[in-house]
């Protein structure tokens, strides 16, 4: 792993909200061109950590470098090379998707063709639709389109698949993999371990503001087995989700 170049390095990050210690000395690195997963229960400090890296939130102490830029000093330069999808963020009211993308192009100061951006996330049909008229999966795909406008080096996705049906989820995994394959680093948070296992190159487990494990999903599983863990239930060659997909088809419906 030593030959990898870190594009994000977080060193001893601390964030307090008054008395509440949301993040307590986090350190990790995200390598260039990987999909990095931040996993952990609600309130563990995942979103806070992401928002500090995204320069949306001030930290209490520690050091965060994004592509060599310091979040304290170069916030604006960082914003130009990252794409951010927020959990539950809305969009400007009364505008259709093309108009929203035109707005974001202006905000990032780049010239893009909104239809091309929509094509990237397969939403050409919805060009004239309003954001709130989209289905859950379409909303997430649109949010991802807005993160790609400035051809970012890193894309942050905060629980992009929460609330989606299995088809929409798989569809989003394909999209996220494609983004990574095009040379972009992806940092993602999720509650779904199957998703992390399939999608992420490396994952960090966050619990009560601390990282308690960080490795490839495979290595983490191997470690657990090596420690003598055994599943109570006999492992079958398929699971219920496989049954669902098999029965309802993989094509996503919206």
């Amino acid at each position: 792993m030593t030959d990898k170049k870190a594009i994000i390095s977080v060193n001893n990050l601390v964030k307090h909200y008054g008395e509440f210690k949301a993040v307590q000395g986090l350190s990790f690195e995200v390598y260039e061109n990987e999909i990095f997963g931040l996993l952990g229960p609600n309130g563990a400090g995942k979103t806070t950590t992401l928002e500090i890296i995204e320069t949306l939130r001030a930290k209490t102490s520690g050091e965060v470098l994004v592509d060599g830029l310091n979040v304290d000093r170069d916030a604006n330069a960082i914003k130009q090379i990252i794409g951010v999808q927020l959990q539950a963020a809305g969009y400007y009211p009364n505008l259709n998707l093309v108009e929203l993308l035109a707005l974001f192009a202006g905000l990032y100061g780049v010239d893009v063709t909104p239809m091309e951006m929509l094509a990237k996330v397969n939403l050409q049909d919805k060009a004239k639709a309003k954001y709130k008229e989209l289905s859950g999966g379409q909303k997430q795909r649109f949010s991802i389109a807005t993160t790609l406008i400035n051809s970012p080096k890193i894309v942050f996705l905060d629980e992009p698949t929460t609330g989606l049906d299995p088809q929409a989820r798989r569809n989003l995994w394909d999209l996220i993999s494609e983004i990574r394959n095009n040379g972009t680093t992806v940092v993602i948070t999720t509650h779904y371990m199957d998703e992390a296992e399939q999608l992420c190159d490396r994952v960090a487990f966050v619990e009560a503001g601390k990282i308690i494990a960080l490795d490839t999903p495979d290595q983490l599983i191997d470690n657990l087995i090596a420690a003598g863990f055994e599943r109570k239930k006999e492992v079958k060659a398929a699971n219920l989700e496989d049954v669902f997909i098999n029965l309802t088809g993989k094509a996503w419906r919206e």
Binding site: Y31, E54, Q80, Y92, L95, G106, T146, G183
Partner: protein
């Protein structure tokens, strides 16, 4: 689909070699420092254009406003409805409602002369019972009955019953009737002492529209400024739209400025529309034509900027979407009623007038009327502008304290 085992391919797919990456970073940082001081740096890694971002926001906001039903209703529909209503009812000046008693003679010179005055609206076929009732309410100003005199001269007796419910109109009718009686009686007679020969100079006709339209214009600007601004900033904050904006390199000042450009633009287009409709459909007086319109637009700009300040304050104070209308109404309603929108503030009781004279809309309305009807220029209404400016400074000082981004 990606695999859970990663090592192999990562190394080769790195897009930049490390040295080049570092150089790019250094360049970007330098560019960015320059960019902080100058808006239009040449294109480069950090060539970010704040003007472009501001205009993109203004465009988005303007589109959004034109599609928002409440903005269109408050800015255009309401003021126009009031203008249409007052434009029609206010046209003819004073009218006296007079009932003719049932059984009264209708074919006589008195009734004919009354009809000719143009001031009196005669109702000829009402029942006695109805007439009595309406007299008590003041819906009729008087009851008239004309009877032929069987004994010869005078040829007719005219009985008038006034009502205490409408004394002022009754007095007007009294003088109209006296005048009329004198004229009728002096037919074919030379005046013995004097004949009054009255002429009226043709002055500028001050129509109701000349009073109502500037007031409605002020009301339109007030509601657009307060409600529109409060709602949009609250909803952008609440729905994390602003937070998403903050993840882009856009400046806060660009967000406020873009929004302001759109709202001011929309409000001024609305004002222009109201003025044009008022002028061509209802003869609203624009004394110096286009110059007057331009002066009014300048005043409207000052007005909308001041009123937007109230909107910023409301958006900061509101705890939920449903608290915006009540808070906004506390600001707009008193001005709507007390700032001379519908009635001249001189008609208010003296204890109320100081309150009226403290409100910014009073001065906007006042300045608008002076400019439109009296042909005043902006320097002539400097006092009104100054008071609005003082309000503006005060309200933006409060807005800076109360406005919330998150």
């Amino acid at each position: 689909m990606c695999l859970s085992i990663l090592p192999v391919k990562r190394g080769e797919s790195k897009p930049l070699n490390p040295l080049k990456g570092t150089l790019t970073n250094i360049t970007r940082r330098i560019m960015n420092n320059i960019d902080d001081k100058k808006d239009n740096s040449p294109l480069g890694a950090g060539g970010y254009n704040h003007t472009k971002a501001t205009l993109a926001l203004a465009k988005a906001s303007f589109r959004s406003i034109t599609r928002s039903p409440s903005a269109v209703i408050f800015t255009l529909a309401f003021p126009l409805i009031f203008i249409v209503v007052f434009g029609f009812i206010g046209g003819g000046g004073m009218k006296l409602d007079v009932a003719i008693a049932p059984g009264s003679d209708l074919q006589n010179p008195v009734i004919t002369a009354l009809e000719k005055t143009g001031v009196i609206r005669l109702t000829k076929n009402d029942t006695q019972e109805n007439i009595e009732k309406n007299l008590e309410k003041g819906a009729y100003d008087a009851l008239i009955s004309v009877k032929k005199n069987p004994k010869g001269l005078p040829a007719y007796f005219t009985d008038v019953k006034y009502t205490s419910a409408s004394l002022t109109n009754g007095n007007v009718l009294k003088s109209v009737l006296n005048d009329l009686a004198h004229q009728l009686n002096s037919v074919n007679q030379k005046p013995t002492v004097t004949e009054i020969r009255a002429t009226t100079i043709t002055g500028r006709l001050h129509r109701t529209i000349d009073f109502i339209l500037p007031g409605q214009l002020g009301f339109s600007l007030l509601s657009t400024g307060v409600f529109g601004t409060a709602f949009i900033f609250f909803s952008l904050r609440q729905n994390l739209v602003i937070k998403r904006f903050f993840a882009t390199p856009v400046r806060r000042s660009s967000i406020v400025l873009g929004e302001a450009i759109a709202r001011i633009g929309f409000a001024l287009l609305g004002a222009l529309f109201i003025i044009v409709i008022g002028h061509f459909a209802f003869n609203f007086t624009l004394i110096n034509g286009l110059v007057t319109v331009l002066n009014m637009i300048v005043l409207a700009t000052i007005g909308i900027i001041v009123f937007m300040g109230f909107g910023f304050v409301v958006s900061g104070l509101a705890k939920s979407e449903s608290t915006i209308p009540p808070i906004s109404n506390i600001i707009t309603l008193p001005q709507f009623l007390l700032s001379g929108t519908f009635f001249s503030i001189n008609a208010f009781p003296t204890w109320l007038q100081p309150i009226s004279r403290a409100l910014p809309l009073t001065y906007l309305n006042d300045a608008m009327r002076k400019v439109a009807f009296e042909g005043a220029n902006l320097w002539d209404v400097k006092q009104q502008i100054l008071i609005m400016a003082v309000w503006g400074i005060g309200i933006y000082a409060v807005a800076v304290k109360t406005f919330k981004w998150e």
